[in-house]
């Protein structure tokens, strides 16, 4: 079984993120680039599946030149090879263009399963997995908290507000995972040393068969018009108990979907 894991390099999750004032895109210089945390769960799940069923894990990323660090981290965790899709024409792509570019890059390889994290910690749209499945014409099994493969059939627990749905499909398929699914391994010394020798294929838009007019900031369907600093935290809601404090508290928690 060949599994492609799509990963993204993002600004350090714990750092305060800023937008560049002129282009209103993320200021990638202001914080360390790291592998999107949620993608580590996708890599871990792919590794576990190939450990159980045999096969190999290919890690694919789209990003600027330095994004090979994200690929290397995945390789040091145990992925077998990498694909780095990088081209100035892709800068500023929105989710629609990203899903198109990734779908085209996936066309350069064979696979039985595509696994993604359910969201990136920078944009947090959770759109790419579903769009990618649509582009590839494959079943989408998103927000998976458990994945099981039996022959060519795949079953996942799809996390919902009320618990989970059990969703089944035939391979090949696109899966996105949530952080409840597993505990990602730490790269080992051996893994880090071995990662150096693993093959990473470099693709640009031409090699991936991407129409440059359909990607990048110019082609984005959405435009960021303005951005402002988040206002400081407000004081919150004070409930004065006049005999109905419990009810008001329950109403508040219910409105926030805590209960």
């Amino acid at each position: 079984m060949k599994i492609v894991v799509c990963v993204k390099q993002v600004p350090d999750t714990e750092a305060e993120k800023r937008l560049l004032p002129d282009t209103l895109t993320v200021d990638r210089e202001s914080s360390n680039p790291v592998l999107n945390e949620m993608d580590e769960f996708a890599i871990e799940e792919a590794l576990k599946l190939t450990e159980a069923h045999g096969g190999e894990v290919v890690v694919l990323t789209m990003g600027p030149d330095g994004a090979d660090a994200a690929v290397r981290k995945a390789l040091s965790m145990g992925a077998h090879s990498g694909i780095l899709l990088s081209d100035p024409a892709l800068a500023g792509s929105d989710a629609v263009a990203t899903s198109y570019a990734i779908a085209q890059a996936l066309g350069t390889t064979e696979y039985d399963l595509v696994i993604l994290g359910s969201e990136a910690s920078d944009a947090r749209t959770s759109l790419v997995p579903a769009m990618l499945a649509e582009r590839l014409g494959l079943p989408q099994l998103t927000f998976a908290s458990k994945v099981e493969i039996d022959g060519t059939s795949i079953t996942v627990n799809r996390l919902t507000d009320y618990g989970h749905d059990v969703v089944q499909a035939q391979l090949p398929a696109v899966v996105s995972v949530v952080e409840k699914i597993n505990e990602p391994r730490y790269p080992s010394f051996k893994g880090i040393m071995a990662a150096k020798k693993k093959p990473v294929a470099a693709l640009d838009v031409a090699a991936a068969g991407i129409d440059a007019a359909l990607v990048g900031q110019a082609a984005a369907a959405t435009t960021v018009v303005d951005a402002a600093q988040r206002p400081p935290r407000s004081a919150g809601v004070k409930v004065t108990d006049e005999g109905d404090g419990g009810v008001k508290l329950a109403e508040f928690l219910s409105a926030q979907k805590f209960i």
Binding site: R72, K73, P187, F189, M193
Partner: protein, 296 residues
């Protein structure tokens, strides 16, 4: 010659750091001190699983970067001792790489074997009853007076030098953590209308602690590369003093809260003070260094 760590060395250091951060080394140290070694042993096994314990004897630089992070997160357990035995006794390497805990002492320089109660082997054999220890995670056992049948005769000098080097690296991390806590506190604590970190006298103490640690680090890594006893002595003397200076600055600048056991500085302070003396204190190592240079 390049002195900076390679990309792979940094990646490995980061992996060790993430594991210790996620596992909460300080909490494990507190549990260990209270008699529950389970979280600490889990960290021990986790670090062995990613290959830290397999580095002994072959990758001293990588091992020192790992020890620095182990210090930074105050993870409990006889790391320098186990890894020194692995470096000195190749026949023990596979078992230690797989996570076996061993400990050692080299009297008269380092007369107590730490954590001998949980160790599979102790070089040489130790008493079964501990003596009083400043660091409650580092119980101390006197070497048995009447030589017992020992596991194997161990090359004492190599154990001493390796354990001293790794303890120096651990002290760098411990001292840095104490300093980081103090810098954060100095920015937060307001007195006479200003954050205490704005006062010059406070800044000086912090800067002294910082430069001490930064000046000790190259000595530690030089000793890792050369493995010369005189370099190890320079590293251990400098790291012991730098970490202790950072700990004392931390204690004073924190004011009263620094003296409370509940605040995490207590875990660091006790560990630093006990490791300051372990595997030869600054006086021993300075003396050894001067003799080696022909000055004594």
């Amino acid at each position: 010659m390049r002195f900076a760590l390679t990309e792979e060395q940094r990646d490995f250091r980061d992996a060790v750091d993430s594991l210790l951060r996620d596992a909460n080394g300080v909490a494990a140290a507190r549990a260990w001190a209270a008699g529950d070694t389970k979280p600490g042993l889990e960290i021990w096994r986790g670090l062995a699983a990613i290959g830290v314990h397999s580095l002994a004897g072959e990758y001293p630089v990588e091992l020192c970067t790992a020890m620095e992070r182990i210090g930074y997160h105050a993870a409990p357990g006889p790391y320098p001792e186990s890894l020194a035995v692995a470096a000195a006794l190749p026949e023990w390497r596979p078992r230690i790489a797989a996570g076996a805990i061993v400990t050692a002492a080299v009297p008269p320089v380092s007369p107590y074997a730490p954590n001998a109660d949980i160790a599979e082997a102790c070089f040489p054999a130790a008493d079964s009853q501990p003596v009083a220890s400043l660091d409650p995670t580092r119980s101390l056992f006197r070497i048995a007076e009447r030589p017992q049948p020992e596991p194997a005769p161990a090359p004492a000098e190599l154990i001493l030098d390796t354990a001293a080097l790794l303890t120096a690296a651990q002290l760098l991390g411990l001292g840095r953590a104490a300093l980081d806590m103090t810098v954060a506190y100095a920015k937060q604590r307001v007195q006479y209308g200003r954050a205490i970190g704005e006062y010059q006298a406070v800044k000086h103490r912090l800067a002294d602690a910082h430069t001490g640690l930064e000046f000790a680090r190259p000595l530690v890594f030089a000793a890792a590369l050369s493995a010369e006893p005189r370099d190890v002595s320079a590293a251990k003397a400098a790291a012991s003093e730098a970490a202790y200076r950072a700990a004392r600055a931390a204690l004073q600048l924190h004011g009263a809260i620094g003296y409370t056991d509940e605040y995490d500085l207590s875990v660091y302070f006790k560990k630093i003070r006990s490791l300051h003396a372990a595997w030869g204190g600054p006086a021993f190592h300075r003396d050894r260094l001067l003799r080696d240079l022909g000055e004594l």
